[in-house]
Symmetry: C2
Amino acid sequence: MSGEFELIGLLRERLALAGVSAGERVVVPSGDDAAVTVPGGATATSVDAIVDGVHFRRSTYSPEAIGAKALAVALSDLAAMGAEPGEAYVQLGLPDDLSEDELAGVGDGFGAVAAAHGVTVAGGDVVASPVLFLAITVVGHAPDTGSFVTRSGAEEGDALVLIGRVGGAAAGLLLLERPELRDTVEADVATALIERQTNPVALIDAGVALAAGGASAMIDVSDGLGADAGHVARSSGVRLELDLLTESVCTGVKEVAEAAGRDPLELAANGGEDYALLASVPLDRLDAVVEAVRRTSSGPALAGRVGAGEGVVLRGPTGREASAAGFDQVRSRARGAPT
Amino acid sequence: MSGEFELIGLLRERLALAGVSAGERVVVPSGDDAAVTVPGGATATSVDAIVDGVHFRRSTYSPEAIGAKALAVALSDLAAMGAEPGEAYVQLGLPDDLSEDELAGVGDGFGAVAAAHGVTVAGGDVVASPVLFLAITVVGHAPDTGSFVTRSGAEEGDALVLIGRVGGAAAGLLLLERPELRDTVEADVATALIERQTNPVALIDAGVALAAGGASAMIDVSDGLGADAGHVARSSGVRLELDLLTESVCTGVKEVAEAAGRDPLELAANGGEDYALLASVPLDRLDAVVEAVRRTSSGPALAGRVGAGEGVVLRGPTGREASAAGFDQVRSRARGAPT
C-alpha cells in the first residue's frame, strides 16, 4: 500500500476519469485544509457510513459496487429531502490488504454515481484502518429551507405514495450469501435482485419532483418500509396506514424468501436497504404529484393514507399485516447470514 | 450493545449535558434525513477520521479523550482556514465490545470540545464496525470566500510565523506506548506531553486572527512541521525556510526523545499531530498580525521566511537541518511502537 498522498492522487485520477464535475459552488476544491463553497440558499447535509462485513462484504461485492453503494445510500437521504445534490466528501478507512487496483475500483464506482448525479467530490480523508470503511458526507441545495421536505409534516387525510420497489435488496443479499438459492428464480431476476443489493439507486429526480409538487413529509426507505414509516409517524404525530401493493415488491422476492424459509411479506416490509421513497401528499395535490413523479424514471404507487393516532399498520397484498421492525444498522452485523 | 436509535439517543443526551448549542444556522437539526442549514456567505468544509490502533488506542486513551481528539483535529483544519466553526457531523463505527459507558465518555469528550468552540452537532450516523472509528465533518463560516486563507498564497519575502508548539504529541505518544520513559521528565511535564497527544487543541482564535490580519497562506501542523511546510511550498510555488526556535518545541521533548533513542529535532520537526498553525504573512502586516495573535491564548513565534524556489529547509535551534518527512496517516499504523 502506498502512502497517503499517492492514494489520494490515485482516487483523484479515477474520479476525473469517471467524469466527476468541478462543482459550480466550489471555490477551493479538495487539496487545501478545507473545501471552500458558496452555498447560497439553504443546504441539506447528511452523513452515511458503510463498513465491510456490515453493509457489504469484500468477498461478495466488487470494488466498484462498494464505491457506488457508499455514495448512493448517502444521496438517497438527499432525495428524501427533495434536495439537488451538490458536494460529497469521502472518508476512507483502508486496510493493508486492499490493493491499489481495488482502491481504483472503489473510486470508479464512487465516481460513476457522482457523475450520474452531477455531484462534486469536494474533499476527503484517507486513513489506515483494520477494516475497509467509507464515511460519506453529502450536501444538497435548494433556494430556501421551505423547499425541503422533512419527516414531520404528514397530516391526517394525506395520501401515502411509495416510489420504487422494496424487498429486492434483502432478497439480493440472501442470494449473495447463499448462492444455492439462485436457482429458485430466473437468472435475470436473480441478477436484478443482487443488483438491488449491490448497486442501489438514489431516487433524486423523484424526490425533487415530490418536493416541488408539495409532498408534506418524506423519508427514504433504508431501515425497512415499516420502520421508516414509523419514523414519519413519530415525527409527524400521526398514524401511517400502509398498503403494500404487489407492484411495489420486487420480482422474485416471494420465491427467494420462501426458498430461504423467510416470510416474503416480512422480507419486503422489513428487509431494508431499498432506497425507495415514502411520501405523504395532501389530497388536493395528489394528482399533480403523481403526474410529476411519473415523468421521472420511477413511477409512484399509492401506498395508503395518513390517519389519526400513532404508529404504523402495514398490510401486504393479501391484506395480512406485517410487523414494523426494520433493519438495525448497529445490531445487524450478521443479518442475512446462513445461520 | 443497544440498537441504533438507543445509542443515538444516548449520544444526544451526552451532547446536551455538555452544553452543545443549537446552532443559529441550523433550521432542521439531527433526526431527519438531513440537517437543513442556511449558511450565508462562504463555508469551509473539512473531514477527518480517526481509527483505533492508528490515531489512538482504546487501551491508552480515555473514551473522553477519543471523542475530544476526533473533533479537535477536525476543527484544526478550520482554524487553518481562519474559519469560525459552525456545524459538526459525526459518523461513529462502534465495535460490539464498546460499552454504553465508554460511548457516553466519547460523547462527553466530543461535546466538551464542541461546547468550547460553539459548535453545533447537526447530524450523525452510528454503524456497527469491527473497530472503533470516528469520521468527522466540520463546517466553518465566513462572510465571503476572501476571508479564508488557503495554502497557496505564500509569496517570496513573506515572514513565517508558527502558533503553538511542536513535538509534544509525538513525545506524549512515546510516553503512552512506553511508560518506562516517563521517569525521564518531571511528572507534570510528562502529563503535559501526554495531554498534547490525547487532547490536542484547535487554535481557532489564532486562525481567525491570522486570517483577519492578512496572512497570505496557512496550514495546520498535523503531518509534521516539515511535511506541512512542504504542502504550503508546493501549493504556493515557493521555498519555505523554517527556523524552529527552542520556544516552539514543547518542554520535555528533548529528554523523552533522547531516552527513546530518537533524534529530538526529528521528533519535533516530523512527529506530527501538533495542531500548531504555520502561516506566511507579508512583512507590512507582520506587526499587526503578531499583535492580534498575541491577544489570543497562543503567542506566535517567528519561524523563518518565504524564499524563491521550491521545497523546505528546516533548521533546528542549533542550526542543524532536519528532514521534512512527516507523519503518513496511512503508513503510520505502527508509529511510535517500541520496535
